[in-house]
Subunit: 397 residues, 2 copies
């Protein structure tokens, strides 16, 4: 008997390499700056509960029955109108409700990527997106960025190489760097896409969480050809546990994404869809966002203060206008992957090492810190401990 | 500018060809025997609502937060113990909670199938599984069956050909034929898998819905090597709208399926998982299953009576011991794909033509009828109308 072999695709897919270490971070006595988790005290539990009661009493059998793969029709209509109001012209037929925005990365890869097709990404970028593209045996083409987002000269050069089919960007409060691409660059990105016939996935989970500065139009709002596909999620705004996101795309593309949906989880869970729709429709979402923005802004500012107070002088970090993360570069050749188990086991504080975000394998001295999940006390104490262990390692080097 | 091309994979994936016609069947004045929908009056709305209230009051922030990709730990433990009690030995680490069982077909294809790899399926089989395998550019190897399930000589011949890597079967109350594979054949299937080193996905969404005869052990219960992967779902037992299923597999395989989960919807929605777990844990599920079995048995028997009463004499159908479907073969060269729009538009009654279930493109004179969704009155009236239009077409041929 021979043993069945796994596919090339799945052998190509790394799990999250630091996953096992981070499982330790889930213990309650650990102060975690690791995941991209919303604050546990930000969840609108009572409102969710009231809405579910009303929905089940009014439409119980409909909600517990199968739904359509495209999503709840009235929710698609709502999102199309809302997106159009934001400058992203969309009809309800151009909106698909998904089980979070991560699923959209998978559907886009499924719809467009043959093995060997190139995907241009920022270096660093969202590590789970890298995993998806690897799982489709794509060639990842990392290009560098700076405080103004992706380097447009490098982007055009990569596009002109003929190797790329898709561009994946998080233009607003990028994960992990927190960087936001300015308006002029957004226009230029669309010109490059159109010039070279590339498709782009604009991943936008964080833009509503803005603590300073002015909102920017989405890259998709400048798109006239439909080459930009836009996805967002309610995970950071209402609840990730409900698994509700959406994508808007040109109709022919959307039909292919719907095929992906039909072949995987058939449709997004109805309770999640309907609760989120009621949050939108009843005007509960906007004041809720204002509330969490006030909370997260304080936590961001506190963590920035703690960076100044506790980190060694040569450490650098960004001051993000929104999102959930600070991005740190450490001095003195500190390897953050090696630092993590020490930080967790001895100091009871967790973060994400930067390396997995880099498609080119660099970033050994960087780390991502989340400021939404820990309490203010946890942020103060955790940053003190983290700074302490970093300084100690530097001293002994 | 060139236009980005879709992947070979997605161009290979047909949507449900009869989808547009069936959208008409969703209108309320249509009597639908088409989908595999549970009865709308079977849903335990009040119990679901009470459980959600308790859960949100007790553990609201935990439920609205991200969960682990593997699923809620206590639910995995419960399922492992329950499966072990059913002869399917499993540890909690060998169980993954999924967004329905359809998703497991996708994850298995992702984990095992390179383009061109062969998948042995029954002819006919579940049409959405065929779509998944096509979306992975697999070679579908259809083998015939009869009232005893898959033909074992054909299965061994296909296995021996060296072209196949995976076997996909619905051994209990197969979709669409309703056929159940006997115990001796189940043992023989495992022998063939082990002899030729094939992996098998046992898709088992219907086995708990048994109206007559005795329960059979799963194919997986005879598996000593871990080459059989077993999936089931709570869609037909509690609610499809909550999207909760599960898979159990040998640990190395399960880890690959978890990678699939991480790359797609990250984890199954928490409310659905927790409600289903409470149904299991509190002993609500078993009496609920007894209740829907009593209802569906009556509906099956009524539909069988109506077949006798209204269908032309040469029509044949199965008498399924469980599940949700009757499978009909019509006389006189009637093409059921052509019949469908006439049945819907003129007679306001819907079914699924048999052809899409056949990987070899045959089955033009067959159809699948669902008996769980329509009311008894609907079954009586719909079958009368369906029999009438079939007889009329036969007369005019």
């Amino acid at each position: 008997m021979s043993v069945p072999q796994f596919s090339t695709r799945i052998m190509n897919t790394s799990g999250n390499v630091i996953r096992e270490v981070l499982k330790l971070a889930e213990q309650s006595h650990i102060i975690s700056f690791a995941g991209g988790f919303p604050s546990p005290n930000s969840f609108p539990v009572t409102q969710v509960n009231e809405i579910i009661n009303e929905l089940l009493q009014k439409s119980g059998p409909e909600i517990l029955q199968y739904g359509s793969s495209e999503g709840f029709p009235a929710f698609r209509e709502y999102l199309a109108a809302w997106l159009t109001g934001q400058g992203i012209t969309a009809t309800p037929d151009e909106v698909l409700i998904t089980s979070g925005a991560q699923q959209v990365i998978d559907y886009m890869a499924k719809a467009f990527l043959n093995p060997g097709d190139g995907v241009i990404v920022e270096n660093p970028t969202y590590l789970a997106a890298l995993n998806v593209f690897k799982s489709y045996e794509a060639e990842i083409i990392p290009i560098n960025g700076d405080a103004n987002g992706v380097n447009l000269v490098e982007l055009e050069k990569a596009a002109a190489s003929g190797k790329a089919k898709m561009v994946y960007l998080v233009p607003t409060f990028a994960n992990p760097t927190g960087v936001t691409t300015p308006v002029e660059s957004r226009k230029k990105i669309v010109e490059i896409l159109d010039k070279y016939g590339l498709i782009m996935l604009e991943d936008d989970p964080y833009s509503r969480l803005r603590y300073s500065g002015n909102p920017l139009p989405a890259v998709k709002s400048f798109d006239k050809t439909g080459n930009v596909v836009y996805t967002s999620s309610f995970s950071k705004l209402i609840s990730p546990g409900m698994r509700v996101g959406y994508v808007t795309a040109r109709h022919d593309i959307l039909r292919k994404l719907v095929l992906g949906k039909q072949c995987t989880d058939v449709h997004t869970n109805n309770i999640g869809q309907r609760v989120v729709f009621e949050f939108c429709r009843r005007g509960i979402l906007e004041p809720h966002i204002e509330k969490i923005i006030a909370q997260y802004k304080k936590q961001r500012d506190l963590m920035l203060d703690m960076c100044k107070q506790h980190l060694p002088a040569e450490t650098t970090w960004n001051v993000p206008e929104g999102g959930l993360f600070l991005w740190l570069t450490l001095p003195g050749g500190i390897n953050t992957t090696d630092l993590l188990p020490i930080a967790i086991e001895r100091e009871k504080v967790a973060f994400i090492p930067g390396k997995p975000f880099f498609a080119d394998g660099s970033g050994e001295n960087s780390m991502r810190l989340n400021f939404s999940n820990a309490s203010p006390e946890g942020i103060a104490e955790g940053m003190k401990r983290l700074g302490g262990v970093i300084k100690e390692i530097l001293k002994n080097k």
